[in-house]
């Protein structure tokens, strides 16, 4: 899991981060009348490989160490920068996203881009290294935020002392809202990951929650609720609705039995496998229903301390913790 989402994270960041967040703001500039000799000193003292050329605050060009070397080879030490600079330097806007800069770097094969505001004033300078550094910082901030969330969540059962602590998560499910199908299950999955559940437990909860959530969407005419009660040793999922109710619970549990209408089957639902899937994932399952009143499905999934699931109270044993 860690590698794959990070690719997307970098991509996201390239589009999200504005150039102004990664550029260098203190730009060393020279004037068109600066001599090549003076330029050499400016570059050496500041350890930079090029500088924008400003004429009374207006950007007129850029001069690089390559230009300087050529001038030195030709012995042209006293001519002004104006003669040697590249006019029409390649610029990017400060508000544009980093991806625009990446495009310009690969199009123009230049070492640095000048950053300007909407009025065309020079506000910063950008190299490939600045982009790398900016992205790494942004990723580590993001990564750190998720780490903190995970840490806080996974210690809730240790930090809050009672004779019995449980955490109740409730999600509402709207009738016939196919577009949101899986939303409650996804949120629950994320919560369990943060709490430090083992991947196998997360998967079993996700599958059973999804199947039951879809049942509420397809069948419950007023929608329903998904309630997850988390204790240090187990997860109890309860799915409740207020109708229509199941006429024959035993039949409903038999594999392949479905009452879903055709249009729902065409979407790939209504295979008659939902409750079976849930049963397969759960350590225990209880289904109660009354026609005209509603249905209540309750399943229990035990945590597996042997898989290192961290919200197990065993963790609190000083011999167990590291």
């Amino acid at each position: 899991m860690p590698e794959v989402p990070q690719f997307t994270k970098i991509q996201e960041l390239i589009y999200e981060l504005p150039i102004e967040r990664v550029m260098k703001k203190n730009v060393i500039t020279v004037s068109p009348e600066t001599s090549i000799l003076e330029l050499k000193e400016t570059l050496r003292i500041n350890r930079i490989s090029g500088a924008p050329v400003l004429d009374n605050g207006r950007l007129v060009g850029i001069i690089s160490i390559e230009d300087l070397l050529k001038a030195l080879l030709e012995g042209d030490l006293h001519s002004p920068v104006r003669k040697r600079m590249t006019t029409h330097p390649i610029t990017v806007l400060e508000k544009e996203s980093v991806v625009e800069a990446v495009k310009k770097f690969s199009q123009h094969k230049v070492g640095r881009l000048l950053v300007v505001n909407e009025q065309g004033d020079l506000v910063g300078i950008l190299t490939g290294g600045d982009i790398t550094r900016g992205l790494l910082e942004a990723i580590s901030l993001d990564y750190h935020a998720e780490e903190v969330r995970r840490y806080r969540a996974s210690h809730i059962f240790e930090d809050i002392v009672s004779d019995q602590t449980s955490l109740l998560l409730k999600y509402k499910v709207q009738a016939h809202d196919f577009k949101s199908g899986g939303t409650a299950s996804s949120k629950l999955k994320r919560a369990l990951e943060r709490l430090g559940c083992a991947p196998d437990t997360v998967r079993r909860v996700a599958i059973s929650a999804y199947e039951a959530e879809m049942n509420l969407i397809i069948h419950a005419d007023q929608g329903g609720e998904v309630i997850a009660e988390l204790r240090p040793e187990r997860i109890r999922l309860t799915f409740v609705d207020r109708g229509p109710g199941i006429p024959d619970v035993e039949k409903a549990l038999s594999p392949g039995f479905s009452t879903a209408p055709n249009w729902i089957r065409e979407l790939g639902f209504g295979a008659g496998m939902g409750l079976n899937n849930i049963k397969r994932c759960a350590d225990s399952m209880k289904l109660e229903s009354k026609v005209g009143h509603g249905t209540r499905l309750e399943i229990i999934i035990y945590l597996r301390p042997e898989l290192g699931e961290e919200f197990n109270p065993l963790k609190r044993n000083p011999q167990e913790s590291s």
Binding site: K179, G181, S186, M214, L267, G268, R280
Partner: protein, 114 residues
């Protein structure tokens, strides 16, 4: 293990979402148009081949941690499905060919089912 990228190249099918996650390895394959069956049979890092192209395919793929989904017979996901797939990091690939012929090629590339 063969990667999603190699499969996409060999089968000449283009990803339509989350192309950045194309480096994922494929642990196995699964084919069905029934979502509950996919929930059961398609395991983590599996490639799922189906006719379905609606929003809930993304939910199943994301909840089960699938490597990707190939939508067959030219069934195109709509804009909402695509944007959901993008935000969940689910790779969707679209092909005009049938499930049967895609699965046949996957098998010859060494992708195994259970």
């Amino acid at each position: 293990m063969i990667s999603l990228k190699e499969v996409a190249e060999k089968l000449k099918i283009e990803p339509v979402s989350s192309a950045s996650s194309l480096d994922r390895p494929i642990a196995g394959g699964y084919a069905s148009d029934l979502l509950s069956c996919a929930m059961k049979g398609a395991k983590k890092d599996y490639l799922w081949v189906t006719l379905q192209s609606h929003l809930n395919v993304v939910a199943v793929a994301s909840l089960s941690g699938l490597a990707g989904v190939i939508m067959t017979e030219g069934n195109q996901p709509d804009a909402e499905t695509l944007s959901k797939a993008e935000s969940e990091g689910v790779v969707l690939l679209v092909t005009p060919r049938t499930t049967f012929s895609i699965v046949g090629e996957l098998a010859s590339l060494g992708v195994r089912g259970d």
